[in-house]
């Protein structure tokens, strides 16, 4: 009898331990969630925000970022420009695979340096095999580019008209804007990564850790871009998905995306598909274009073309 009692006691001890651990785990969960504020925790879905909410969120984020990064940020909520549908053209016959765009994008969009996130992935492919991902090399490392036997295919978000990622998201944290840009509300994303499984272009990237802006090798700290958009390049929290937004913070102000500006060979073209006189409309009318994985019916607004 007493033996049983002893055991019961032991059991109770381990039960208490269990409860304690449980409490610890819960606390850790809250802290692990970066100790987010009540306002952030309760923030509503982007499409349900009132003007007042927007003002408060803008203020909250700007203060938060200033505190964290020691400089003034502006977080824009600028809406799509009416009568605008963005399209992108990339001249495969021009691209030399120099990866300038990759790093211009990193700088412009405050992408995490460690762990490394690249929204643009430049693939090297054999000229004799054509556009074929199974012979593509993302990690080509050459003294000089372009290589004579290879061509280069940079891939980022294709801004599909029929985006499978948007369909996949269980909480509507990602959607297609009126100007055709597929955006993510980083404050609404739960980090389930269903969109990443759904994307046929590897365009969605997860913040596996809190983004760090210090190069792990050189220890060099990179300067953040303080001109941000809520749905674009503002500093991201840990555990959410981000993606190319056609530089929404720039393009909604009329500027070209950063990758267009940097490209040394002018292979990158950008404009309004609804404007018959835009560069992109000219390309669609006069050049042969190809879209990636057209059999999936994603209807990309990213067009690869051969100008020559």
């Amino acid at each position: 009898m007493s033996e049983i009692k002893d055991k019961t006691k032991k059991m109770e001890v381990s039960r208490r331990d269990f409860i304690k651990t449980g409490a610890l785990v819960t606390t850790a969960a809250v802290v692990g969630g970066c100790g987010i504020s009540k306002e952030e925790f309760l923030q509503q879905h982007f499409k349900e925000l009132t003007q007042e909410d927007v003002k408060n969120i803008k203020k909250r984020l700007e203060t938060e970022y200033e505190k964290e990064f020691g400089k003034k940020f502006s977080v824009s909520f600028k809406e799509p420009i009416p009568q605008t549908l963005f399209g992108y053209g990339l001249d495969i016959s021009r691209c030399i695979g120099c990866r300038r765009c990759v790093y211009a994008c990193v700088d412009e969009n405050n992408l995490s340096i460690d762990p490394q996130i690249h929204w643009i992935q430049v693939l090297e492919m054999e000229k004799s095999k054509g556009v074929n991902f199974h012979h593509a090399n993302l990690h080509y490392d050459r003294e000089k580019v372009p290589d004579d036997d290879h061509f280069y295919l940079p891939v980022a978000c294709q801004q599909c008209e029929n985006p499978p990622c948007v369909k996949a998201c269980p909480v509507e944290a990602t959607w297609k804007e009126k100007d055709g840009i597929v955006v993510v509300d980083y404050n609404w994303c739960i980090g389930c990564r269903n969109c990443m499984a759904a994307c046929p272009y590897g365009a969605r990237h997860f913040n596996w850790k809190k983004p760090s802006y210090i190069d792990p090798k050189t220890k060099k700290k990179s300067e953040l871009n303080e001109d941000t958009h809520y749905l674009g390049n503002r500093p991201r929290p840990q555990g959410i998905v981000d993606k190319c937004t056609f530089c929404v913070q720039r393009t909604r102000e009329g500027k070209y995306p950063a990758c267009v500006e940097i490209c040394p060979v002018g292979a990158r073209k950008f404009g309004n598909l609804l404007d018959p006189d835009s560069e992109i409309s000219y390309i669609l009318k006069n050049k042969r274009v190809l879209i990636l994985k057209e059999e999936l019916n994603t209807q990309p607004k990213f067009f690869y073309f051969y100008a020559t």
Partner: protein, 409 residues
């Protein structure tokens, strides 16, 4: 007031047991603590503690999730043969099936929870409060059917045990519809989970119409494998009675299910190999490896070979009715399906990735720890629930007996 009594007595029962029971619980607690320490570091530092990366963005956790959904579904689907063949201990079979289902669903849900990058925002998935993307997102559907399934089974089991406890007959009008509903629900959780993969046109490895049928077939193997062993244990340690014939019948059904599973598998292999399109590359990665990346090949073949051996063991009457070969078969099936629905389903779907690049994934220590934690929690839940159920059904734990005891004192 009986309900408080019921809960109190259940609680008491859970605390009582022999030394084997206590050591089992102690082992589970140790494993939970060890695994929990890994999970805490993941919570602190993010999913970067796992070996998942952008190219392989779902892996060990979601593999385990899928397997557990299968177990949960099959545990209930076993109710069908129990009815069809009119097994004697039908109520018992149903109850233990339900208990297994509940534990498996809890594990499945936990595997999703630990895979979420931003768990604090999980409330966005609560219908009406958050913003569930219906009818578009299969993940939204999956969360709904899994939670409904959980609630449904919990209701059935608690109601059944509670009426036993009260020594009353259960209300057929209430219970039978729920029990009948649980069967299509069981099919639906596994089907929706299959559709979650199946609907992804970006991933040809999963984008096969055979996926959902294959899921069901393999679940019909793995779920009963667990129950087969469980029933034997219960029969030895409690007054639970089930005829050998019933167990052999389960094994026979598993043989048919395994045959269908293997047939589906062969059909898929034929289609991929013969047509030899670029989609073959995922099967290549799984069964041959690409270049030096052969990590997963051993597991893939283990799964196929184990499944095939188990199929033969369960098909041949002599080995099916021998408890040694029967149990070997059950273990082989369990391992075979665990690999097939886990790592051998997930990583080849993501490797090579959509841009043809290869990242060789293998689970990190933190992932293994967290998985051990969830398995231990699942076993713990199942042990405790079974303890209460056994006491109520076989050990005369009910209101009348308790009153009698009290009067005696």
């Amino acid at each position: 007031m009986t309900i408080i009594r019921f809960l109190k007595e259940s609680f008491k029962t859970v605390l009582k047991g022999n030394k084997w029971y206590y050591s089992w619980l102690a082992l589970l607690f140790v494993l939970i603590l060890w695994g929990g320490s890994g999970y805490i570091s993941q919570l602190m530092n993010g999913l970067g503690e796992t070996n998942m990366k952008d190219p392989v963005s779902w892996a060990f956790y979601i593999g385990n999730f899928t397997f557990m959904v299968g177990v949960a579904a099959a545990a209930i689907m076993l109710v069908i043969p129990a009815y069809v063949y009119n097994w004697k201990p039908i109520k018992e079979v149903v109850i233990f099936g339900e208990l297994l289902a509940i534990s498996a669903v809890i594990m499945a849900l936990l595997f999703v929870l630990v895979d979420i990058g931003n768990p604090i925002k999980m409330w966005h998935m609560i219908p009406f409060i958050g913003k569930l993307n219906l009818p578009n997102s299969l993940l939204a559907w999956d969360s709904i059917v899994l939670n409904l399934y959980f609630i449904l089974n919990l209701t059935i089991v608690s109601y059944l045990l509670y009426t036993y406890f009260k020594k009353k007959e259960y209300n057929k009008k209430f219970l039978v519809p729920l029990m009948l509903l649980s069967i299509p629900m069981a099919v639906s959780i596994h089907t929706v989970t299959a559709f979650l993969y199946n609907g992804l046109a970006a991933r040809p490895f999963w984008n096969s119409a055979l996926l959902a049928p294959k899921f069901l077939a393999s679940a019909f193997c793995s779920g009963p494998a667990v129950l087969l062993i469980l029933f034997q244990i219960l029969r030895k340690t409690t007054s639970f009675k089930i005829k050998d014939e019933a167990l052999f019948k389960i094994a026979e059904l598993m043989a048919y299910a395994m045959f269908i599973n293997l047939f589906f598998f062969a059909s898929e292999v034929f289609k991929e190999v013969y047509s030899n399109t670029e989609h073959l590359v995922h099967f290549k990665y799984l069964f041959i490896g690409i270049g030096d990346n052969k990590d997963i090949v051993l597991y893939a073949w283990t799964s196929v070979i184990f499944s095939f051996i188990a199929f033969l063991l369960f098909l041949i009457p002599k080995t099916r009715t021998n408890f040694i070969t029967l149990n070997i078969g059950a273990v082989l099936i369990y391992i075979g399906v665990y690999i097939e629905k886990g790592i051998a389903l997930l990583t080849p779907g993501f490797t090579p990735d959509v841009l043809g690049q290869i990242y060789v994934y293998r689970p990190s220590m933190v992932e293994i720890q967290t998985t051990v934690m969830i398995f231990s929690i699942g076993f713990l839940v199942f042990t405790l629930l079974t303890k209460v159920a056994v006491a109520i059904i076989f050990e005369d734990l009910n209101i009348e007996a308790l009153e009698k005891k009290r009067k005696k004192v």
